[in-house]
Amino acid sequence: MTENIKFVQGNEACVEGALYAGLDFFAGYPITPSTEVAEQMSVQLPKIGGSFLQMEDEIASLCAIIGASLTGHKVMTATSGPGFSLMQEALGYAVMAEIPCVIVNVQRGGPSTGNPTHVAQGDVNQARWGTHGDHAIVALTASNHQDVFAVTVEAFNIAETYRTPVILLFDEVIGHMRERLVIPEPGEIPLVERLRTSVKEGVDYHPYLPREDGRLPMSDFGSVHRYNVTGLYHDMWGFPSDNPKIVHGLSRHLMDKIENNAHQIAMVKEYYLEDAEQILISYGASARSALHVVVSRRNRGEQLGLLELQTLWPFPAEIVRDRCRNARSVTVVEMNKGQILEQVKHAVEAPERVFLANRVDGVLINPTDIRNFLRVIQGRGI
């Protein structure tokens, strides 16, 4: 046994990924099924000189990490649906003020306090549109602990690259189940560090003037430059403005910096798609059941494949359209009423061939459920 092999919960794998990425500040309010993220942070961060804050509620948690990020820290908070609802105001602020931060939502059943200890994937659209106003957002997910680790690292990289909040949308099954995790060696996964301005002290610094490549170098708040940060539309110094040119320009910048790089942000895993006549599209814990069906059916010679989504937002529509072009049927496996289904229907050339295999009763959709849905879709009945 070596030290870098662990047997942990998904929530712990997320913590390990965050620490690997260089996280040194966490603020949160514990809530099932995400509590182990906060718990492990409270144990691990003090050991490396980082900060753990237990806040009075979730909006305060997100506000705290926004402030810490501005001062130069890599930051994260973790919650579940009810807390994620409370965070939406601050999430919009982070989008507008372009604050790198990572928000973990380990999903439970909703709406409201819902089904706290059971699995669901009902917050997909909330992650996209929970906060008001036109905006772009990044949301990632994973179906096993090695991937939880990797997408968590990637979340920090994307947050720093595009100066944006990134949402990690896990679920109760992934959060709580235990399996093997191998911690990569330092340097094995590349890290993106904060792009800091080269503007010297006493020289006019424009915190919101993008470089040619669209990136905005930051200056640690409270150090050498004085500047303004606001949730209002703002000019290149960060001061509020209602000048239509500035409002339009910033609105477009906030969308474009994500949407124009959607192909860079898109992460998927492909299983047996080359000759697949039937394609399953899934993500998170549901993808484990889907993969179980695909592998067992392949052994019997059926041409079934799986496209597992790790990037949910921006939705990887081009990849979905391309991979599904020759499929006779496309079945979206998810634990909600069809939130990714709608995206897939928009993306593909033949939406009438797209079906939903779902479960919304707090129980992980199982391989038998999926096989039954496939029989119905094929017109064979259960």
Binding site: M1, I5, F7, P116, T117, V173, H176, M177, R178, E179, R180, A285, R288, S289, L291, H292, V295, L364, N366, P367, T368
Partner: protein
């Protein structure tokens, strides 16, 4: 190897979830096997019936839950009543002789083991009931080595309690001597 689908069940506070974690961790970290452990739990912290699922295999495990265990352990009557029906035909059903009264015959090898009584008689501390159960489990299945379990315990519990747990594990294994597998 045959894929083991295991359910440990009992009441909250008996340590069934802890023993499931120890078993799965021993398999992954010390036997180079693949294992997934999960649990279903409600809002209650104690009482009620709890169950933990463990799958142990030498290949990838995708679907992490157990629908039909080939080994089922029940430490309370309530757990037995609730779960005995899901056992895989030909599987192994282990119950505690004091807490569980076998009320029906299922298509499985039913083994009633006096785990609780033995713990109280030989050790006197009910806290290691779950480790004794783990001893019975590995005595019956030989799925992992007792040294692997002890390695996990060495990392997880204070030194002062190691001997107590070693004793309970051995006691459980001794209880399976002469019991038909």
């Amino acid at each position: 190897m045959e894929r083991y689908r295991i359910v440990f069940s009992g009441s909250g506070g008996q340590g069934v979830i802890t023993s499931a974690i120890i078993l799965a961790e021993a398999a992954v970290l010390h036997e180079n096997l693949t294992a997934v452990q999960s649990q279903v739990y409600g809002a209650e912290a104690r009482g009620g019936s709890t169950r933990s699922d463990v799958i142990i295999s030498d290949s990838e495990i995708y679907f992490p839950k157990v629908t039909q265990p080939n080994v089922l352990v029940c430490l309370t009557q309530e757990a037995y009543n609730k779960f005995s029906g899901i056992i895989r035909p030909g599987g192994l059903l282990i119950t505690d002789a004091k807490y569980v009264e076998i009320t029906k015959k299922v298509d499985a090898r039913q083994r009633e083991i006096p785990m609780y009584e033995a713990v109280m008689e030989k050790i006197g501390k009910p806290i290691v009931f779950n480790i004794c159960m783990l001893g019975v489990f590995i005595g019956m299945t030989e799925l992992v080595k007792p040294e692997s379990v002890m390695s996990v315990l060495e990392r997880r519990i204070p030194k002062g309690f190691l001997e107590l747990n070693r004793h309970a594990l051995q006691l459980g294994m001794d209880l399976t001597e002469g019991v038909r597998r």
